[in-house]
């Protein structure tokens, strides 16, 4: 609490400095964003373009402020809102972990209130932000889970990317490599699935499955865990354990892309938005292939959910509407997609010649688009409280089952209890 006060004081005074611009001067639209590196450069260019064209014409200026990773932006938004909603930015770029808090907040201004036309936005991206209050925010940087593989290695073995986890288990011993001392020098897969990956592995089962009720928390605050009674987590663990038992699954929770780029794992799962970075890191040592995420079983046909970020608005102003509509316009989304690898959210681009040309030149980027197109749009990310604790719990339970001989039944039960506790605690604290 002591810390909280200090942080808040600093935030307050910092916010005061630039909030001055947005409150006294309505022509400035402040955006708190989370784009760094190549993404940051691309975003700054988009902002600069607005300020010198539409902005200059209409007397609006975007002030883009980098506030750290998406979850840092959320932390700051919540801190600002707790002090005084006038310290909030006009727009903040947040990810799915923010959705539950935003849905239950009284300071969020919905796109419908702003009167934004969303007819040109990718349906599954809209669905991913649909709540009991309607659409929460405007999708901006859409991504999904993607299966990355060492194409050079797969080609040399005459293998295709696996379509199901069982197929993966079959080829894993071929992909793996062991040295003379019995040490594994190359794994078939590295990484431990957590909430994001399970969104696909559980969500896709039987065409569509939810982890928690209220459609994964989208139609209301979730109260009940579903993955235990529906057997979906157990089903995943059963197949995953078989894959682990081949001896070529590496349970690591950090540095997965480093291992992939070093050729020490043949495949990995990561967000499609990492594609440019992965290709750069690999640096031509081998060809990077991308494919659909392997299905948990034959019936798991739901596909993947849309993740990434969206623009949440906190001011009801004409200028905010103009800025948001600019950000989802065809030109901006094309520029953004080409520079970052995010999927464009504007459907107008799907038959845009320039974008098709880009995809032809970068076929790995096309896979994410096709995977999303063939997914059930109702498969959505889960909105739960205590997201971080639950994330780590999933990893711990998967490790318990694979490495420590914990029974699948017990692991599923403990996991369900962890999530249920978080739901109960949240409901007790936030629902009157």
């Amino acid at each position: 609490m002591k810390k909280a006060i200090i942080v808040l004081t600093i935030l307050l005074s910092a916010a005061g400095i630039y909030a001055g611009g947005s409150t006294e001067d309505d022509s400035v639209v402040t955006i708190w964003h989370s784009n760094s590196g190549a993404l940051g450069t691309a975003f700054d260019e988009i902002v600069a373009e607005f300020n010198s064209t539409i902005g200059a014409e209409k007397g609006i200026e975007i002030e883009a402020i980098y506030q750290g990773a998406a979850n840092d932006v959320l932390t700051k938004v919540k801190a600002a809102a707790a002090v005084d909603t006038s310290t909030l930015p006009d727009i903040a770029q947040l990810d799915a972990t923010a959705a539950l808090d935003m849905m239950n907040s009284d300071y969020l201004v919905l796109p419908s209130v702003l009167g934004i036309d969303t007819s040109s936005i990718m349906p599954s991206a809209l669905e991913s932000l649909m709540s009991e209050r309607g659409l929460l925010a405007i999708p901006f940087n859409a991504s999904s889970l993607l299966f990355y593989y060492n194409k050079t290695l797969f080609d040399s073995l005459g293998l295709e990317a696996p379509a199901t986890l069982d197929e993966f288990t079959e080829i894993a011993p071929l992909l793996g490599e062991t040295d003379a001392n019995g040490n594994v020098t190359r794994y078939a897969f590295a990484g431990v699935p957590a909430t994001y990956e399970l969104g696909a592995f559980i969500g896709a089962q039987n065409g569509l499955s939810y982890m928690v009720d209220e459609e994964n928390g989208h139609t209301g605050t979730p109260r009940k865990v579903l993955f235990e009674e529906e057997g979906t987590f157990a089903e995943f663990l059963t197949h995953w354990k078989k894959l682990y038992d081949t001896g070529y699954l590496n349970n690591i929770t950090s540095g997965v892309s480093t291992e992939f780029a070093a050729g020490r794992t043949a495949t990995m799962l990561a967000s499609s938005s990492n594609l440019s970075t992965v290709i750069n890191t690999v640096g031509g040592r081998f060809e990077v292939g991308t494919a659909f995420v392997p299905k948990t079983n034959e019936e798991a046909t739901g596909g993947v959910n849309i993740g990434g970020g969206a623009m949440f608005s906190f001011t009801e102003s004409e200028n905010a509407r103009i800025v948001l509509e600019y950000l989802i316009s065809e030109d901006v989304q094309l520029e953004w997609a080409e520079k970052t690898g995010y999927m464009p959210v504007n459907t107008g681009l799907y038959d845009n010649a320039e974008y098709q040309e880009f995809l032809d030149g970068n076929p790995q980027f096309r896979v994410a688009m096709e995977q999303t197109a063939s997914s059930n749009p109702k498969v959505t990310g889960v909105w739960i409280p205590s997201a971080y604790q639950i994330y780590y719990s999933f990893q711990s339970e998967i490790r318990n089952v694979t490495e420590n001989g914990k029974s699948i039944e017990a692991a599923v039960h403990d996991m369900a209890a962890t999530v249920q506790n978080a739901l109960d605690e949240y409901a007790a604290q936030n629902i009157v």
Binding site: A4, K78, Q395, Q429
Partner: protein, 265 residues
């Protein structure tokens, strides 16, 4: 006045808040009795964070104390060669914590990490629970070393020379002189560094945040990092107030324990 504003009022607020049900937006929904504490103490993740913190303290405190004392003792005489060591020992102070943590993260990254190549090891440092804790301990020592070292060296050097000379005339030398005369004469400063290190160890969170994010598999999730996740990321007011209150009570307990000890001496 400042202490009142920034310390006591929030503390009192947390204390009262820990017995209430408060919503994320700060609305008081009702009286919770001790249920906030009961929930927290039955939470596996919280209990494991307590264990992790204990584990960190057990490894970090003796190692840090031993190394800083050793370095300070070896370089306690003003000497040209010692100036070089002093410079080396003090350089960590010149860098920011997060920058150093990122360097450490790079040094220990993956099986092909720099450290593995240097020492011919094959740990996946940050991906195995034991080694990840070891990295955290090494980093902790690295962070605390410089300041503790300055304090100890200056304490050694400001010791009244006449006592040492008197002891030398009486025939004390080497180890005996060090352990029976010099070390006791810096006892107060030594205790200060030990308790500063203890405080740093119990409250460790920033290095965890940058280096391991509590992983792998929660093996480095300390109490304060858990607190950070629950209070700031999840907006769980119950966890926020109860942990804050318990940490303050814990510090008061340690403080009263040590001040009683000092009075005894």
């Amino acid at each position: 006045m400042l202490a009142l504003l920034f310390s006591f009022i929030p503390l009192a607020k947390s204390f009262i808040g820990s017995f209430l049900t408060i919503s994320q937006s700060g609305k008081v929904l009702g009286f919770a009795g001790i249920s906030n504490y009961a929930t927290l103490l039955s939470n596996q993740a919280f209990l494991s964070s307590v264990l992790n913190t204990l584990r960190f303290v057990i490894f970090f405190l003796p190692l840090n104390t031993f190394l800083t004392l050793l370095a300070a003792a070896l370089t306690r005489k003003k000497h040209r060669a010692n100036a070089v060591f002093e410079f080396i020992f003090l350089t960590p102070l010149a860098f920011s914590l997060s920058a150093l943590a990122l360097v450490f993260k790079e040094l220990f990254r993956g099986r092909v990490s720099v450290i593995n190549r240097l020492f011919g090891l094959s740990f996946q440092w940050l991906d195995e629970p034991g080694p990840a804790m070891a990295v955290l301990v090494i980093f902790g020592v690295f962070l605390d070393f410089a300041l503790d070292y300055i304090l100890l060296v200056s304490a050694f050097r400001s010791t009244d020379r006449s006592i040492i000379e008197a002891a030398e005339i009486d025939g004390a030398a080497g180890c005996r002189l060090f352990f029976q005369i010099e070390l006791p004469s810096i006892r107060n400063m030594f205790l200060i560094t030990v308790f500063m290190a203890l405080k740093d160890a119990v409250l460790i969170s920033a290095p965890v945040m940058v280096l391991t994010e509590g992983g792998p598999f929660r093996s480095t999730e300390t109490v304060m990092y858990y607190y950070y996740l629950e209070a700031f990321r999840s907006g769980n007011r119950a966890a926020e107030t109860t942990i804050a209150v318990m940490m303050v009570l814990f510090s008061i307990a340690v403080m009263s324990l040590t001040s009683r000890r000092r009075r005894d001496v």
